[in-house]
């Protein structure tokens, strides 16, 4: 059965579709690939076709993301590398997306899937806000992410950290994993790079840190992750959310 909605198409079909699209582009595409092949250190085993397939892989975010609660808000951080296979498609990408005035989400997994999901949740939250006549709670945004990720778990690959500030809970961090489970944590790490910093984070996290302490913690942890994980890199972006608003910052690699 043909699905026209990209979100509904099974993952395997999309990858096959991407490969077929490249093949049909003709000789010019492979010439471009050949030129690119000349510019990088190509293992001799890789043929021209293999490289075409490599660079046509769906954009994935091998990633390092994290979010930390502090007294009065949250600090969120992410690296900035988006790769298609081995090629870094975007080295300054933004992996933190706003979904409400004081609620952001960190995205890891498939770039397309997480963009689509965060767009849908942003829409749902804006309608929810109109019914509520006040700002939505972070818990409610996280619940919307979770509803989507669970229902479509077979079709999407999304690891999301939803965090922000609301007047009922203050700062809060909510983690939604690949299966669609929701859990609130004082801090949360995610993405491929997070594997390397579990020990560091567990040893160095303290509850009720100050705003600056939390920011330093995030920047240090993500830098360490990026230095070990090949799929993470670029710059460390941070977003600090509190009662008064948003503060975005960037730490160059």
């Amino acid at each position: 059965m043909e699905f026209t909605d990209p979100l509904m198409r099974p993952r395997r079909d999309r990858e096959i579709g991407a490969a077929l699209a490249t093949a049909s582009r003709g000789p010019s595409a492979s010439i471009a690939a050949q030129k690119m092949a000349g510019m990088v250190d190509t293992p001799s085993q890789l043929s021209r076709d293999d490289l075409d397939d490599e660079w046509s892989k769906p954009h994935s975010m091998g990633t390092s993301i994290m979010a930390v609660e502090f007294d009065g808000g949250v600090v969120m951080g992410a690296d900035s590398r988006t790769s298609t296979g081995t090629y870094v498609a975007n080295r300054v990408s933004r992996k933190m997306a706003p979904v409400a005035k004081s609620i952001y989400c960190c995205r890891s997994g498939s770039a397309a899937d997480t963009q689509a999901i965060s767009d849908i949740v942003r829409l749902q939250l804006s309608m929810h806000e109109m019914e509520l006549r006040e700002e939505p709670r972070v818990k409610e945004a996280a619940a919307l992410f979770q509803g989507f990720c669970y229902k479509y778990k077979d079709q999407v690959m999304a690891g999301i950290i939803c965090a922000g500030w609301d007047k009922y809970d203050g700062g809060s961090v909510w983690s939604i994993d690949l299966g669609g489970s929701l859990v609130r944590q004082p801090f949360s790490i995610g993405g491929s790079g997070s594997s390397y910093i579990y020990g560091f984070c567990d040893a160095n996290f303290r509850p009720s840190m100050s705003r600056q302490e939390a920011k330093d913690f995030v920047q240090q942890a993500l830098s360490l992750a990026m230095s070990r994980d090949g799929l993470s890199g670029g710059v460390v972006r941070t977003t600090i959310i509190d009662e008064n608003g948003i503060e975005e910052d960037m730490l160059p690699g």
Partner: protein
């Protein structure tokens, strides 16, 4: 008689306006409410109390039959006046909305949202020729983190209002006068319960059958959950009100 002459011809369908700009079918639905036993709701210092004048139609009825007070969610309760079967159907919808909201947002439905949803639903039935308006009004007692305890009224027209105190049904005009005299902001729910029972007995029409007092509250004492008033308290309120 002149009233009938005015509305004749324009009152056959809910999709027809009269030249005066009224929709008579909706007005008639409200009249169905006005013929039912009185129901009163008040917002006190520490919560909401709702009482209902439930006519005991027959002594053969099992106690608790024809209940007019319903639970919609832990923190939302409803008292109804009008056609009871219509009210029951509305409660099905209200419960579904509350449960659906909880599942989607993992937060209990705020009172204002519950009221809006129910009112929109009721209103929809005044738009189409193929259905008739609901013949009942609903008093909603709610509690949420943002607004605290709240009391709402949803009418067959789909209109909805927030109240400190309101009465619907047969004796609503007399009852409204009575509750306006009360200083609700200083009364506790326990105190209000007895006072409302007294009001009900006072506005009760002697020509009607005997009635049983149905009462519920949503207050600090009930743990901010909607609950029928404990039986001993209900009985004593009933007795004191009759005295």
């Amino acid at each position: 008689h002149s009233h009938c002459a005015m509305s004749s011809g324009y009152d056959l369908a809910v999709t027809t306006y009269s030249p005066e700009g009224k929709i008579h079918q909706v007005d008639y639905a409200c009249k169905a409410v006005d013929h039912a036993g009185t129901a009163i709701g008040v917002r006190c210092r520490d919560g909401i109390v709702m009482v209902v004048e439930k006519f005991v139609v027959s002594k053969m009825l099992v106690h608790g039959s024809n209940r007019r007070i319903f639970h919609v969610d832990r923190h939302v309760g409803a008292a109804t006046a009008g056609l009871l079967p219509d009210a029951r159907q509305l409660m099905v919808t209200a419960r579904a909305e509350a449960a659906n909201y909880l599942q989607t947002f993992k937060s209990p439905i705020p009172g204002a949202v519950m009221c809006d949803r129910l009112a929109s639903f009721v209103h929809a039935y005044t738009l189409y020729w193929s259905v008739r308006p609901f013949g009942c009004s609903v008093l909603l007692a709610t509690h949420d983190e943002r607004a605290g305890p709240s009391l709402y009224l949803v009418e067959p027209s789909g209109g909805a209002y927030g109240y400190f105190g309101v009465a619907i049904g047969k004796g609503k005009n007399a009852a409204k006068t009575e509750i306006e005299k009360l200083n609700l902001q200083e009364l506790s729910c326990r105190q209000a319960l007895v006072l409302l029972s007294t009001v009900l007995h006072r506005v009760h029409d002697e020509k009607d059958k005997d009635f049983e007092l149905e009462a519920s509250w949503l207050c600090e004492e009930s743990g901010w959950q909607h609950a029928l008033v404990p039986e001993d308290l209900r009985l004593s309120a009933q007795e004191e009100g009759a005295a």
